[in-house]
Point group: C2
Chain length 226, copies 2
Amino acid sequence: MSVRSRQPSGPEIPASEEEVLPARGQRKQRTRDALIDAALQLMNEGRSFNSLGLREITRVAGVVPTSFYRHFRDTHELGLVLVEESALTLRRMLREARRAGAPVKDMIRRSVQVYSAFVLANRLHFLFIAGERTGGSPVIRGAIRNEVDQFTAELTQDLRHLAIFPQLTPDSLQMICGLVVSTMLNGATDILDLPPDDSAQPLEDNLVHQLRVIFLGAQLWRDEIS
Amino acid sequence: MSVRSRQPSGPEIPASEEEVLPARGQRKQRTRDALIDAALQLMNEGRSFNSLGLREITRVAGVVPTSFYRHFRDTHELGLVLVEESALTLRRMLREARRAGAPVKDMIRRSVQVYSAFVLANRLHFLFIAGERTGGSPVIRGAIRNEVDQFTAELTQDLRHLAIFPQLTPDSLQMICGLVVSTMLNGATDILDLPPDDSAQPLEDNLVHQLRVIFLGAQLWRDEIS
DNA sequence: TCGATGTGTCAACAGTTGTTCACTAAAAAT
DNA sequence: ATTTTTAGTGAACAACTGTTGACACATCGA
C-alpha cells in the first residue's frame, strides 16, 4: 500500500536510499516493513492494536505466519517498534517546526495548520499514538507515555529558548506544555475521525481557540505558594 | 466481585432495591450484571474492550457461553450498554457536584479532589470511558464521544448559570468546557494508571495547575473577528 | 567454488473462538 | 392444575489462533 522510506538500524546511514544494505538485508527489511505496514493498515480500518492477530498481520503483509518470527518475538514486540517509529514522526514534526522558525504573528494559527496537515500526512502513526495512548496494552501505553513525555520536554526546551514566557519557571512551562501536547493529541483524534471528504477547518478553529486560551492563561501564570 | 446496584429498565422504579421485579427478572438481571461486570473486570486487568472474547466474558461471569445471547446480540452490543452505564456515572458526578454547590474560594482545587476521588471510586467506568474514548471500535468511540459532548454541554450550562465568566458567549464557554473536560479525562487516565499504593497528589496538583491556566485564559478571553 | 548463514515456506499441533440446536427446569400465565 | 414461556445448559460445528520443527534455496564469507 504505502512505500515507506525507513531508516536502517545499522550504523551507516545511506544518503538517499537503502541500497547500501546487502541484498539479503534489503529483502529482510522489506518484509519487516510489510509487517509493520500491515499492522498500521489494519488499525486504519478501525481495529485497535491489541486485537490484531499474528496471522492476520502476516496475511495482510503477504507473508506466511512463520515468517513473522524472523522479525519479532511476538505482536507485542511489533507494537513497541511501532511506538518507536511513531515517536520518530513526532520528533520529525518538531524538527520541521523548528526549521520553519517562529512567526510570533498568528503563530498559533499557523502551527495548528501545519500540525493538522502533518497529522493527515502521517495518519497511520498518529492513529497509532492517539489510539493506543489510552487503553490497550499497559506496557505499550507506558512506552507511548514515555515518548510523549520526552516530546513534551523537547517542546518545553524550544519554547524556553524562544523566551515567549520569560516569567515561567521550567516546571511551570513543562506543565503548560503538557497541557498543550495533550490538547493537540486530542485534536489529532478528532481530525483523524473526520469523514474523508470533510473539511478539518472547524476542528482547526476549535483547536486554535483552545490553545489561545491556554497561552493567554500562561501569560498570566504566576507561581504561587501552593 | 463487585455488588452493583443497577437501575432497572422497567417503568416502575423501586424505592431501594430491585425486589419488585419478578423472580425470573431478578435472576436475569443478575447474570446480565455478571456479564457486564466480567467485561469491566477484564478491562481492569489491562485488556482493551475490543480484544475481549464472548467466551472469555462468560467464563469470568460464571455462565455458559450460550447464555450470553439471552442478553446481548454480541459483544458489540455489550459495549454500547457499557457506554450508557458509564455515561450515567458521569452524570451522577455532575449531579453531586451541583448539589455540593460552588465554593468560589479554592474551587478548582476542591473540584479536582472530588473528581480524583470519584474516578477512583468508579474506577471501572472511568477506565472504560478514558480507555475507549480513543482507539477501539469506531462506533463505540462515537457513542462515547456523544456522551462526553452531552456531558460537556451540561457542564457548560452549569458554569453559565454560575456566571463565573459573564463575558463569554455560549459558544466560547462551550469550547472552554470542552478543553476542561478533555483535560480532566486525560487526568483520569493518569490517575488510573497509578500503582495501587501511590499517592495521586502530584497528579492532582498538576491537574489543578492546568485547570488554573485554562481558567485564567478564560477570564481574559474576548471573542475576536476571527 | 564450497560450506555456512538465514529468510521464507510448508505441514502439523493443540487450543480457542463464535454460533447453532435441542434440551432442562423453574417461573408465569392460563 | 395445566400449559406456555424462557433463562441457562450441554454438545457439536467449522474456522481460526499461536507456535513448533524440518526443509528449500538464495546470498554471503571463505
